[in-house]
């Protein structure tokens, strides 16, 4: 790569963008205007914003005691509320409730009847709406004056049901506020009543206070400000980084294609990678500039507003060190978003098409940005490995000054972020090197034409589109079948359900598509015989790699501990397993059925389709990812994705599904059996007791040394598969096919 060319391209693109009024408006003018205008609007709105008085409907006031008096002249007494709030409460006393309401209240008082309560609520809601009240208070039982009440007898003589009913409509903000105001009034009045009761009975009033609690905020001013800003600023920076990257990216890729200047540049001596990096640096600069200008504009507006609006003064300006961390994080964040935006924009043929990609990009990024803002989300090893979210959480802790805590997870966050940046940049360069992306003839594609084409002119093997469609179909069907299925409670329903889901949601779509969309379903599904060494190596590899995969499972479970729902599910499955008629039934449902069905779909049809990209590693990785995603639990997704890579290697190298089915069935079978085989059986076997150990006498794990030895052998077998030459193997096995192979060939045809 010639950096002089990268520099030239970067400088030209910068000049080009700075001469573009739309880009300048988005990057410079809009942030400069947005916050001051928003601030002005806030001030204007604040002038008109005032608290509205609430209307309270009071019923059963005849039940109120003379002392302490809640009402004075039909209004709330000034003893229970401050003067300002008193002006905001407008009461209307209705001494006699409607007959219907009175009837229901009598019923409710008698039996605490839920149905009566619902009817009261409905009636009150109707009344509130008809009479335009915000809340209603009903004093249902006569409340005596504290002086006339016997403290000791008051509890036993108490009438059933509540003394005061407060009705609010939580769907209405006005009603909710009214409820809060009247609850505060009633609380004060009730306290006074109790205090008077205690005083009348010669009990010190302090007893009413009970345990006195006081909360003290130990955070200093700077810490409070940092904590407040650390929740907002990273999100704002990220959003503007993405927005700031997207529009220049569209203009520099899709816009150039549209204007015809892209091919001019491609025919110049600059390499595609130089063009990609030059453009990426430009997009990054604009992404950072947009974010920075927004921050500056927001800060200036915030400081100005703080002097005008009292509430904002307590918020203050963000501490300097917070801004420093933010600026440091700005570089990788903008690199990541710029690369993603540029790669998406490179795919678009026009600016209009490019803008369609903004929504999916935002939908993809927003959850990652929102996770750290959720209450309770914490930086730990699991979250530190999530792109964007981990960085935002780390940034939050750094901004709050928790350096020692942040340092613990600094390395995983930085590594994850750098890895993501590197992958995104590689994607950009790949997009710029891909003719199918740069010269994509979007006008040639039409759904009708495409469907007609795939039905009429079927290829021998599935295409990339067929593979993606199959993967998505499996996901959608699996989702609906799982939703429709009722939770299994016993072995027979569980096994039946599992097999039905595997057949209908996994195998059938793949088989159907292989028959309908390809000329050779047998080759599409890799239904070829394999050599005996390959089959034996697959079984042996599954046995030997079982410890490694089990350890990986344990690692994933440590990093991302299963939630209570998953634990409950695991325990219910274990209970169902205990009720299985025999171990072979378990093997059939957990090992054989998934191995056959999933391999037909994933290593059969989908992997064949992805292989049309002519890059076996991309095909293997994409298939594994789809295979992982089909397992809806996130921990399982990670584990199966890794197992999928091993299965993909075996499938691609041997070109046969048989070793994959054998590997899959052996692995699943071993994993299931270790969980269900009685401890005595393992202990009684010399070999098994050497390999497995237990701490609790129930669950068994692989010993470190045997596990390592097995893993090394397993990896060596995968290495053997990687060197496996299927053409030589096929030539070697050009003997008379065995009876089994002839049967398999006939069946698959």
């Amino acid at each position: 790569m010639k950096w002089s060319n990268v520099n030239l391209i970067f400088r030209r693109e910068m000049r080009d963008q700075l001469r573009d009024r739309r880009t300048l408006f988005t990057v410079v003018i809009m942030p400069m205007l947005l916050y001051p205008l928003l601030g002005m609007a806030m001030l204007q709105v604040a002038q008109f914003m005032r608290e509205h008085p609430t209307r309270i409907w009071i019923m059963g006031s005849e039940n109120l005691p003379a002392e302490p008096a809640l009402l004075e002249g039909g209004n709330i007494s000034g003893d229970w509320v401050d003067a300002k709030t008193a002006q905001l409460i407008d009461t209307e006393v209705l001494d006699e409730p409607t007959q219907e309401l009175e009837k229901y209240i009598r019923e409710f008082r008698k039996s605490d009847n839920e149905q009566a309560r619902d009817l009261i609520d409905q009636l009150i809601q109707k009344e509130l709406k008809a009479r335009k009240y915000d809340a209603a208070v009903f004093f249902t039982n006569p409340i005596e004056s504290p002086e006339q009440t016997d403290l000791l007898a008051s509890g036993s003589q108490k009438a059933t049901g509540p003394d005061v009913l407060v009705f609010v409509d939580s769907a209405s903000d006005r009603s909710r506020i009214a409820g809060e105001r009247i609850a505060s009034v009633l609380g004060n009045w009730k306290n006074a009543w109790t205090n008077q009761l205690l005083a009348a009975n010669d009990v010190p009033a302090s007893i009413n206070s009970g345990i006195v609690m006081e909360t003290s905020d130990v955070a200093n001013k700077v810490g409070k400000r940092a904590a407040a800003w650390s929740k907002i600023l990273p999100f704002i920076v990220m959003i503007w980084c993405l927005t700031g990257a997207f529009y220049p990216a569209i203009d520099l890729c899709a816009g150039e294609k549209e204007r015809g200047t892209f091919e001019t540049l491609l025919s110049s001596p600059a390499e595609r990678s130089e063009i990609a990096i030059g453009k990426l640096l430009t997009v990054m600069t604009f992404s950072m500039a947009t974010s920075l200008l927004n921050l500056i504009s927001m800060a200036i507006t915030g400081i100005m507003l703080a002097s005008k609006v009292g509430a904002m003064a307590t918020f203050g300006t963000p501490p300097v060190h917070s801004i420093g961390w933010l600026l440091l994080a700005l570089v990788p964040i903008s690199a990541l978003f710029s690369a993603i935006a540029l790669a998406a924009a490179a795919f678009a043929q026009s600016s209009k098409e490019g803008q369609y990609y903004l929504v999916p990009l935002l939908m993809f990024s927003m959850p990652l940005m929102m996770v750290p803002m959720l209450p309770g989300s914490q930086l730990d090893l699991g979250t530190s490995l999530i792109p964007v979210s981990g960085l935002m959480l780390l940034l939050r802790h750094l901004m709050e000054g928790q350096y020692s805590f942040a340092a613990q997870f600094g390395a995983p966050v930085v590594l994850t972020t750098l890895l993501c940046c590197w992958m995104a940049i590689r994607w950009v360069v790949h997009q710029f090197n891909s003719e199918s992306v740069l010269f994509r003839a979007s006008e040639r594609f039409g759904i009708g034409k495409w469907l007609g084409h795939i039905m009429r002119e079927r290829h021998e093997l599935p295409s990339l589109g067929n593979a993606i469609l199959c993967g998505l179909m499996i996901l959608v069907i699996k989702f609906f079948v799982s939703i429709a299925a009722t939770p299994a409670t016993d072995w027979s329903s569980f096994s039946l359900q599992t097999v039905i889901i595997l057949v209908t949601a996994v195998a059938v779509p793949a088989l159907f598509m292989a028959i309908m969309l390809t000329r050779s379903p047998r080759k599409s599904l890799r239904l070829r015989p394999c050599t005996i060494p390959a089959a034996c190596a697959a079984v042996l590899a599954a046995i030997c790699l079982n410890p490694l995969l089990m350890w990986f499972t344990a690692l994933v479970m440590t990093i991302y501990p299963p939630g209570p729902e998953l634990m409950a599910l695991q325990s219910s499955v274990q209970t169902i397993l205990d009720g299985a008629p025999s171990w072979w039934a378990i093997l059939l449902v957990f090992a054989v059925a998934p191995a056959v069905m999933e391999e037909l779909a994933y290593r059969g049809f989908i992997l064949s389709g992805f292989q049309s990209m002519r890059n076996k590693w991309h095909a293997i990785l994409l298939t594994s990812l789809l295979f992982g995603v089909a397992h809806s639990v996130i921990q399982q997704t990670m584990i199966t994705s890794v197992a999928g890579v091993i299965l993909g290697i075996i499938a691609v190298q041997t070109r046969s599904l048989i070793p994959c089915i054998l590997f899959h069935a052996t692995h699943n079978g071993l994993t299931a059996m270790i969980g269900i085989v009685p401890a005595e059986t393992i202990k009684s076997s010399h070999l098994l007791s050497q390999i497995l150990y237990t701490n609790d006498g129930v669950t068994f794990q692989y010993g470190i040394l045997p596990g390592i030895i097995m893993s090394v052998i397993g990896l060596a077998l995968i290495g053997w598969f990687l060197r496996f030459d299927h053409s030589t193997a096929a030539a070697r096995s050009s003997r008379q096919p065995s009876r089994f192979e002839r049967w398999l060939g006939k069946m698959s045809e």
Partner: protein, 261 residues
């Protein structure tokens, strides 16, 4: 200078495979204008995009001034100047900046670049355009800047892909006379066009293409003798009609065969 052998290009997208170039071969020499004639979709632009290394061939070889397009794309790009309907100029750059930018990308020394630019701006009478932005230029002005951009590094090979499309007669004539001058200066020129009169006037050798194949190739005299037709347009029409009829026939036969299977 340019040697093309069995050059093939297949595109694959969701709609299936599409053969844009089907094993074409030809040679173009210095001091010669080689014409590519063909209807829309014949594969002319694909062939020229491969020669300018914008696309990679699926099969076959193509060398420019001794450099293979697949193996040494950067060196090939130094040997050529590519002017096409798809190579526009930047709207937000002046004519001077545009030509200078490409000169810098070709790694030209600042002094030499300055001299070359002065000479080209003088030659194409573009001095009044120096500070005019691309967006403010007429189609003819833009094409002049485009040609100057392609010639800035004085390449031995120039590729013109429908370079006179959409130009008025005055500018088109200017472009054609530039091509003639360049040929006279010993440059090897590939010239693709729809306009028979341009090809007849300029080209020393002509290849007529349809559906990714070269139907016939030779000097104008050789073609006239071979097809017993002096009028290039008539010859073109007859060849393309025959090729289309043959294609439709084989297509129908293929469909019948598939239906029978």
């Amino acid at each position: 200078m340019i040697h093309v052998r069995g050059l093939t290009k297949t595109y694959r997208d969701l709609a299936g495979d599409f053969v844009a170039l089907d094993e074409i071969s030809f040679d173009a020499m210095p001091g010669q204008v080689y014409g590519l004639l063909g209807p829309n979709g014949a594969g002319k632009t694909t062939a020229l995009r491969i020669l300018s290394t914008v696309l990679k061939p699926t099969a076959g070889t193509a060398s420019v001034n001794g450099f293979e397009v697949s193996d040494n794309p950067r060196q090939v790009r130094h040997q050529i100047g590519f002017v096409s309907t798809n190579t526009a100029i930047y709207d937000r750059m002046t004519a001077w900046e545009m030509v200078q930018y490409f000169g810098q990308l070709y790694g030209m020394e600042a002094d030499y670049l300055q001299i070359q630019m002065e000479s080209l701006f003088e030659r194409f009478q573009m001095n009044e355009l120096r500070n005019t932005l691309g967006s403010k230029m007429s189609t003819g002005m833009r094409q002049k800047v485009n040609i100057a951009r392609a010639m800035i590094h004085n390449p031995p090979v120039l590729i013109f892909d429908e370079a006179t499309l959409g130009l008025d007669i005055l500018v088109a004539r200017q472009v054609l006379s530039t091509v003639e001058q360049l040929r006279d200066h010993g440059k090897c020129i590939i010239f693709s066009s729809h306009i028979m009169s341009e090809v007849g006037r300029l080209c020393d050798r002509v290849a007529i293409m349809n559906r990714g194949k070269i139907l016939t190739e030779g000097t104008l005299d050789e073609l006239a003798a071979k097809h017993q037709e002096d009028d290039l347009e008539e010859m073109f029409y007859q060849l393309i009609s025959a090729s289309e009829a043959e294609h439709h026939l084989s297509d129908a036969q293929e469909k019948t065969k598939t239906a029978a299977v």
